[in-house]
């Protein structure tokens, strides 16, 4: 890891037109000081700030200098003479670098095309924003222009396009984790300017994490969005030391954990299956390993994560509660790099490098748990022949064809394997593949075409005790997407696209082997469907203060034969059966999903936003267990199972406090949901009978207010999040048809996250969470049946689990750096004060006195220390 040390970076310091080192003259006397001191003295006398790698300048000592009324350029020439240090100016920043660089190269490699200047003409600046060190594209970077005031953000491929009047402009470019840059530009024609940002610099003496300005846009109409740069999550303490972005997002308002140590989550009162989880655009149907304790996302391979809490832009569809858009790294296009780590649970290795220098790259990243290695050490044959592991493999490559076309191929393969000798086992996993083609029609029209494959399946095998069979189940998608982004002018950005997904669901297929297998071979009928959508949105800035985004997504879901579909009476009994041929349309649902969002900037540091969004969902996960399981069943809408529909209204207030050091957001929402699904009481989950015979339908509502106060600069960073919310369901024939709290209804949800950079070596962190216990069904009494005691229930979810709270501590130690090699040790302590949080409460006949009944609480994780070692070269 190369750490960039800068003497100072303050992107907001100088808004006026940048002066050049030739224009400003200084006088300075120095004897036997370090170069760093010399640069500090120049900073004090001029508007300039210096940026440099620590190792480039720290060995430069014993400076002697005497200048009088000389331009800064001249002073720097004298200073660097014989020291092999080059400099270049970007706005008020002067970048220092060792080596052969000519100094002519600017941060933006630009060329001017076409036509000479005309004063009232407008021209477009466009290009790609990348990391200077790795060449990774930077998503969601902000490009701001002072006059006329405005700005754009880079899209998910790092592309930006901004249209401005001819003449001189300052472009201020900023992104989370990167040092801001101000680039002067003189527009006399359309310009392609590819921008490279340096990684966030740290002050030479104070080790201050510098202001990465504008980490969010006050003017953007997007609400309910949480963006996580994977680097930000690095220091947050985690269970078993296994970094997991799905657990980090649970510390943000409106996103609730599915349980202690769990990577599953609920967004704004939605259920777990109402989250659309995308990895490089491919749907991941089961995003967890080992009963939900780890997510399928290996942090090494992930660039960033955006969580849309219901106010999804029109390109996302098919789920009610959220879209979690996860982007994999592209790979370093400059140098071959290897990184990895070893933790308590797993070992990781990541290899990336250029295919074409500076133009294209590849990445391969793997993770595997090794708990089963220890099982092998056991002398007990039943234990040492057990297998228990999971792995993830991410691979990605991109290739540029000329300046206008780029292909990306990315894939993910992950699997959990669990077996007992050769007797019985279960394995499950996802595989996804995405082929994307970025094409630039011109500087204002960006196109992306994707072909996506997504698969989730599980296999169970049993070869024991006269039972000999396998069970297989799968959900598989083929998905085609075409999207156009048209930067129509300074006031409009138009996004439009079309999408079609072919779903195949194989609910369950039993294959028995041999005559005496104990089970008959049987195939639950496969289900076929096409989910398609067309959408368009326009982001319109009628004035400097007001922005509007309005759009429409029209989604359609066609259920296709071959297969039998049924009608039912109210008790779920089949009344008639309809047969469909292969390819015949059983039914098509069409749902217009309008959305509108507005933002109004109150002043420099605050804004108001409001939005309305409708979403529909055609695939549903039905489960009757509190623990997520790979065998939970995905079902598609049928003639009877209607698409789920949600309408969400939200409003928010956003303010940057004390010179942008703090960010405050307050968002409130109300959501109503139609066609919610639940299992009937006593439903048979694995049956040949039509699934509709086991289901009930109803409505839902959720509302709440979310507060987030974030500090992103200084030695101490972190956030405070608080959610006050409610979510309820009303399902026919459940709870006497009355409203009841959904299980994930938690009144209060608090998270405090703090990271403190003690010195160059040590970073300390802590987080504390508190939430109201889940709404659960406890018995109101008991009775006897066949001589045993059973429990009597009246209201659904009428009780609460005990309140949950937990403190985690973490510390990261940067070990001594060598020329190319750097490494760190990360320590964490999960549940530091050993709170026994209730994972489950069971009721049973008394253990000591069988004439009584008792409640038994199971707690999972108390005091879980961990250590992991990470390296990079």
């Amino acid at each position: 890891m190369v750490s960039l040390l800068a003497i100072a970076v303050s992107p907001f310091a100088q808004k006026s037109r940048a002066q050049t080192p030739e224009e400003i003259k200084i006088s300075l006397e120095l004897s036997h000081v370090s170069l760093a001191t010399a640069l500090h003295r120049i900073e004090a006398l001029t508007p300039f700030k210096f940026l440099a790698k620590a190792e480039d300048i720290e060995r430069e000592q014993d400076i002697l200098l005497s200048v009088k009324d000389q331009p800064v350029s001249k002073v720097l020439q004298i200073l660097f003479k014989g020291r092999n240090i080059q400099y270049r100016q970007i706005g008020i920043n002067i970048l220092l670098k060792k080596g052969q660089e000519t100094g002519k190269k600017t941060a933006g490699t630009s060329f001017v095309s076409s036509t000479p200047a005309k004063t009232d003409e407008k021209y477009t600046v466009s290009g790609t924003i990348r990391s200077a060190r790795t060449g990774e594209t930077i998503l969601g970077a902000t490009i701001r222009v002072a006059d006329p005031p405005g700005g754009v953000t880079s899209n998910e491929y790092g592309f930006y396009s901004v249209t401005l009047p001819a003449g001189d402009h300052q472009l201020e470019i900023s992104a989370v984790g990167f040092a801001s840059q101000t680039l002067p530009i003189s527009l006399a024609g359309n310009v392609v300017m590819n921008i490279r940002l340096n990684e966030e610099a740290k002050d030479l003496q104070e080790v201050t994490v510098t202001a990465s300005s504008a980490t969010r846009s006050l003017t953007s109409t997007q609400m309910g969005l949480e963006k996580i740069n994977i680097k930000e999550t690095k220091n947050i303490p985690v269970l078993f030391g296994e970094r997991d972005v799905m657990k980090t997002i649970q510390l943000l308002p409106g996103i609730k954990s599915a349980g202690d140590g769990n990577s599953g989550f609920y967004v704004r009162g939605g259920s777990a299956d109402q989250n659309l989880i995308l990895l490089d655009e491919a749907t991941v149907y089961n995003a967890s390993h080992l009963l939900g304790f780890f997510s399928t996302f290996n942090s090494d391979a992930i660039k960033n994560v955006s969580v849309y809490k219901g106010d999804m832009p029109a390109q996302y569809g098919g789920r009610l509660a959220s879209a979690v858009d996860i982007k994999m790294n592209d790979g370093n296009n400059k140098d071959l790099g290897v990184s990895g780590g070893v933790g308590l649970i797993s070992a990781r290795l990541n290899i990336e490098g250029p295919i074409q220098q500076d133009r294209s790259s590849f990445l391969i990243s793997g993770r595997r748990t090794y708990a089963d290695v220890f099982l092998k050490l056991s002398s007990d044959t039943t234990v040492n022949r057990s297998r228990l592991y999971f792995y993830d493999l991410n691979a990605k490559a991109n290739y540029a064809f000329g300046s206008k076309d780029r292909l990306y191929l990315s894939g993910y393969f992950g699997r959990d394997v669990l077996s007992q000798s050769n007797l019985a086992g279960l394995n499950w996993g996802n595989s996804t593949a995405t082929l994307r083609w970025n094409h630039l029609f011109n500087s204002r029209l960006f196109s992306n075409t994707s072909l996506i494959y997504s698969n989730f399946d599980y296999k169970i095998f049993v070869h024991e005790n006269g039972n000999d069979f396998t069970i297989f189940s799968q959900i598989r998608d083929w998905n085609w997407k075409e999207e156009l982004q048209w930067y129509a002018g300074s006031k409009h950005t138009i996004q439009t696209g079309i999408n079609g997904i072919f779903h195949t669901i194989r609910p369950g297929e039993i294959t028995s082997s041999g005559k005496d297998a104990g089970v008959n071979s049987s195939i639950l009928p496969r289900r076929y469907s096409v989910e398609s959508a067309v959408y368009a949105t326009d982001t319109w800035k009628p004035s400097g203060r007001l922005s509007l985004t309005y759009g429409l997504r029209v989604s359609a879901f066609s259920i296709l034969g071959k297969g039998d579909y049924y009608n039912f009476d109210t008790n779920g009994n089949v009344t008639d059966t309809m047969h469909y041929r292969s390819g015949q349309v059983v039914k098509t649902y069409l749902n217009p999903e309008p959305r509108i969002a507005a933002s109004y900037q109150l002043d420099q540091s605050s804004s108001l936003k409001a939005s309305y969004t409708r979403n529909s969902q055609y695939l549903h996960l039905v489960t009757n267990s509190t623990t997520s399981s790979p065998t939970d069943k995905w079902i598609a809408s049928t003639n009877v199972v209607k698409p789920e529909i949600s309408d969400q209204w939200s409003a928010g207030y956003y303010k940057n406090l004390s010179e942008d050091r703090y960010e405050l957001s307050v968002e409130t929402y109300y959501k109503r949901m139609q066609n919610q699904i639940d299992y009937r009481n006593g439903a048979n989950i694995f049956t040949n009978a039509p699934i509709e015979t086991q289901l009930l339908y109803g409505i839902g509502r959720a509302y709440g207010i979310e507060w987030l106060l974030k500090k992103k600069t200084g030695r101490f960073t972190g956030w405070l999040s608080y959610t006050l919310s409610r979510t309820e369901r009303k399902i026919n024939a459940i709870n006497n048809d009355q409203w009841y709290n959904a299980r994930q209804d938690r009144t209060h949800d608090i998270a405090i996250v703090g990271i403190y950079q003690l010195n160059k070596k040590w970073t300390l962190s802590a987080n504390w969470v508190f939430y109201t216990g889940d709404a659960v069904t406890f018995p109101n009494g008991k009775y006897t049946a066949d001589g045993e005691v059973y429990f009597y229930y009246t209201n659904r979810n009428g009780y609460r689990m005990p309140n949950y709270h937990r403190l985690d501590l973490g510390a990261t130690c940067q070990l001594k750096k060598h020329k190319k090699f750097s490494s760190e040790l990360a320590f964490s302590l999960y549940n530091a004060y050993g709170r026994k949080n209730a994972y489950q409460i069971d009721f049973r006949q008394g253990k000591d006195n069988p004439n009584t009944t008792e409640a038994v609480q199971t707690s999972l994780f108390t005091f879980v220390p961990s250590i992991s070692y990470n390296f990079k070269f």
């Binding site: 009963l291 057990s386 228990l388 669990l418 007992q420 007797l423 279960l426 169970i460 049993v462 005790n465 006269g466 039972n467 039993i510 005496d516 297998a517 104990g518 089970v519 008959n520 009757n624 267990s625 509190t626 623990t627 065998t631 009481n681 006593g682 048979n684 459940i734 299980r743 069904t777 406890f778 018995p779 109101n780 009494g781 008991k782 009775y783 006897t784 049946a785 066949d786 045993e788 059973y790 429990f791 009597y792 229930y793 009428g798 209730a838 994972y839 409460i841 069971d842 009721f843 049973r844 006949q845 004439n851 009944t853 409640a855 038994v856 609480q857 199971t858 707690s859 999972l860 879980v864």
Partner: protein, 268 residues
């Protein structure tokens, strides 16, 4: 067919190695008592019994006094047989010899409310053999039963295990949806959650398994009780089992056949 949870078990144990359990006190509301009616007719001659009890608060003890004063009858083919109260809340008769294939209708009148139910006695299925087998991971003893499922008809089973006369409280309920017409080997797995040594199977113990053939509505009752009514916190929606008795009470009325086998666990 073995339940998938059996395959999970070793995993869950290893994950939860640090899990800890403790008895806690939970404030549970009281509720007005509801009748619990259990009616059984078997194909053993003269076995027809109905017991009526009531729900009580969680904090109370586990004695469930019978409810007297009900008028109970069982009808079959137009013949109505009254059941006399032979103990407090226990109503029985030996005038009915349950016959497979017959449908029996129960009627209970109690405090002005009439409860009715109907159940058809299936054809009996006997046990071919029973033997001792080991659990998937570890050395715990279980009993495996072997029986031949009749082909072409739906069968529903309930098994009850006794170790030295102690009834195992775990419910063993199954059907033949995926096993129609096969020779079925079924290991009666249970978790000794109360750590009661009397529940475990040791060499020298006498184990008896009763095999009941039940009808679909009674199977629904026991399987929904097993899924959602046993007090397990693993169920997302605990609820009362689906009763086949009309009128607003808890319970079941089952016309069932019974076949048994006994073994003495060999001293390995």
């Amino acid at each position: 067919m073995p339940r998938i949870s059996n395959i999970y078990l070793p995993l869950i144990i290893s994950i939860l190695f640090s899990a800890c359990q403790k008895v806690i006190s939970v404030q549970l509301n009281s509720s007005s008592p509801v009748y619990m009616i259990e009616g059984v007719i078997t194909d053993l001659p003269g076995t027809c019994k109905v017991s009526i009890t009531q729900t009580k608060d969680f904090s109370g003890d586990n004695t469930f006094p019978g409810v007297s004063g009900a008028v109970v009858t069982v009808e079959n083919n137009g013949v109505v047989t009254p059941l006399a109260e032979t103990g407090t809340g226990v109503y029985s008769t030996n005038a009915i010899n349950g016959t497979p294939g017959s449908t029996y209708n129960l009627k209970v009148s109690l405090n002005g409310v009439v409860y009715t139910a109907s159940s058809t006695m299936p054809q009996p299925v006997g046990l071919n053999s029973i033997y001792v087998s080991k659990e998937l991971l570890g050395n715990k003893n279980y009993i495996t039963i072997v029986y031949s499922d009749p082909a072409g008809i739906k069968n529903y089973y309930r098994k009850v295990q006794y170790v030295n006369g102690h009834k195992e409280k775990t419910l063993f309920v199954s059907d033949d949806e995926f096993q129609d017409g096969l020779t079925i080997r079924d290991q009666l797995d249970f978790s000794n959650d109360t750590d009661d040594p009397a529940r475990d199977i040791h060499p020298g113990d006498t184990v008896r398994v009763d095999m009941f053939c039940i009808d679909s509505t009674v199977h629904k009752y026991w399987s929904s009780l097993q899924q959602n009514g046993t007090g397990s916190g693993g169920s997302a929606s605990p609820a009362n089992p689906t009763s086949n008795i009309q009128g607003g009470c808890l319970g079941y009325f089952s016309a069932e056949t019974i076949r048994s086998k006994t073994l003495v666990v060999p001293k390995s």
